[in-house]
């Protein structure tokens, strides 16, 4: 059985706020072709298994896995879809290779979210329909009209037409969570604003980023409250992008002409979906990281990890996640940010890629975006944003509002 698993190829599209000129299939083809060329493999001959990561409701059709094989070179080959973030796909690829049955496995995740015209309403579908969603002002049950017998007098379904202007945006839960984080840790709204300024500035050095901009803490603080204490600029904006990875066993790496980046540790965890009993802390990230540290033999993450790419889809999330990962004490992440520790030349460079605030929210591909940056940095391909002397990097993902699930992957040279 192979002892080690490496990333041997990465491929990715540009990240754009909309991509009306390509279909999601062509988008996936582009990322995969680049990854296969990067790894020097032919998907029709060399790749033993293919994994995609997706969510049917984002895509707008059913049974996503059925639509997958052709555009990634997987027709009539072992192929499956993980309904989750890209890092989960990476973990599944790792496990498949560890079985000894697969030598080379491809993983793909993407966002084609600009194709979705009713993003907020689909977002509300992720809340419990019985115990949570009614509070958002979703349609009254009396107007439920999917089955003709429910609305005998109405020839057309009324769903979506009642109170639609008053249905609240699904991101409201992040407002509650941010308030919890600020109160528990003493972190300030200004410190969260500083995350936005840092990541959007970092994005200037990432040619693939979409939301780079020079702004000040005041700009963020003066942007309007949408889900108090969350302000407009605290929120990452949607972006389209596709990312593909090729992973290989230690034995297969020897036959390829590549510099392997080893996937050294992996962990994942899910909080209860019940808002009624879950903590508003990022326990999922804490537990996922402890699992990954154990596997990697990391006892002191603060010392042994050189840089981090963590989920920052809301500004406070970056600080909350750093603390959950044990890379900062509770209440310390904001201070590390203030003292420059999280900058390119700091002691723990964080989201140097620009993060989701700078690149954009790429949904199921978010975890792979974090992992991608770790691989780029460890390969020394960071260009203007290259961090000096890096050996070990951590990437962390969160499933997004309203979930409490996440994964962690640790890479080393």
């Amino acid at each position: 059985m192979t002892k080690k698993v490496a990333v041997v190829g990465v491929g990715y599209t540009d990240f754009n706020s909309m991509t009306p000129e390509v279909s999601w299939k062509e988008f996936m083809y582009e990322a995969c072709q680049k990854a296969y060329i990067d790894a020097g493999v032919d998907p029709r001959e060399d790749i033993d298994s293919f994994i995609t990561c997706s969510e049917d409701y984002w895509e707008g059709f059913s049974i996503f896995d059925e639509f997958v094989p052709d555009q990634i070179g997987a027709v009539l080959r072992p192929c499956c879809t993980v309904c989750g973030d890209g890092l989960y796909g990476l973990g599944n690829a790792y496990m498949q290779i560890k079985t000894g049955k697969m030598n080379i496995v491809a993983v793909e995740a993407h966002s084609k979210i600009s194709d979705l015209l009713t993003f907020g309403d689909i977002g509300l579908f992720s809340y419990d329909p019985i115990f949570d969603r009614p509070v958002t002002g979703s349609v009254d049950r009396t107007h439920f009209a999917g089955i003709p017998s429910y609305e005998k007098n109405s020839p057309k379904p009324l769903v979506g037409k009642t109170n639609e202007k008053e249905r609240i945006h699904p991101y409201f839960l992040a407002g509650l969570e941010m308030q919890n984080f600020l109160r528990k840790t003493g972190t300030t709204e200004e410190q969260c604003a500083k995350v936005v300024v840092k990541n959007k500035k970092n994005a200037f050095n990432n040619p693939n980023a979409e939301y780079e901009v020079n702004i000040t803490i005041e700009d963020v603080m003066n942007s309007e409250y949408l889900f108090k204490p969350i302000k407009k600029l605290d929120i990452s904006l949607n972006v389209d992008g596709a990312i593909a990875f090729v992973l290989a066993s230690e034995e297969a790496v020897k036959k390829l002409d590549v510099e392997p980046i080893w996937l050294r540790g992996f962990g994942w965890s899910s909080e209860t979906p019940w808002i009624s009993t879950r903590s508003m802390d990022a326990n999922y990230a804490m537990l996922a990281s402890r699992m990954a540290y154990k596997m990697t033999d990391i006892n002191n993450p603060r010392k042994e990890i050189d840089f981090a790419e963590v989920d920052d889809r809301f500004s406070y999330k970056e600080l909350q996640h750093l603390e959950a990962l044990g890379l900062a004490e509770s209440g310390e992440a904001g201070k590390m940010l203030d003292s420059g520790d999280l900058d390119l030349n700091g002691s723990l460079p964080t989201n140097i890629s620009g993060g989701s605030l700078g690149i954009g929210n790429c949904f199921e591909a978010t975890g792979l975006q974090k992992a991608l940056e770790v691989v780029i940095q460890l390969r020394g391909h960071g260009g203007k944003r290259q961090i000096e002397d890096v050996h070990t990097g951590i990437s962390q993902s969160w499933r997004g509002i309203p979930s409490g699930s996440g994964a962690v992957a640790i890479f080393g040279r």
Binding site: E21, K34, P129, P157, K165, E177, S276, T277
Partner: protein, 159 residues
Amino acid sequence: MTFYEKQTDPSSPMHWLGDMQADYLYPNGKAGDKLFKHIKENDTFLASKCINCSKIFFPPRLYCEDCFVEILEKDWFEIPSTGKIRLHTIVTINTYGEKLNEPKMIALIDIDNTDGALLGIIKTDNIDENLIGRKVEAVFKSKNQREGTLKDILYFKMR
């Protein structure tokens, strides 16, 4: 450059506009049914308690998520429809990103005598006030208008 040629005329990409109708009948479940049938007739809530770890669930459930054991009917009991605000946020936009007619305060309310909480709308005169820790009580629809859903709770008001 993945493909030989790319489009350069921004007016040329075309699309098909689809709509995805998704209507469901979501069963309340046994536990939910029991709660909502109770709420239809009463201004109080029900909770259920795990005999293994003593965790009291609201909304009540048939099983404990910590111990993975069933909660029996004898371990259900009535509780007041009151609680304390743990967290709150003010929402200003709808699902389309447009301004709501008026901002809405949504709170996570720790329900009294339980380990559970509920998302609720808070009606208050001063929406900018810090209301964390404040005691609230549920305001229900009149009994003849209740239909056995969470919407039978109109909002929460200060006690």
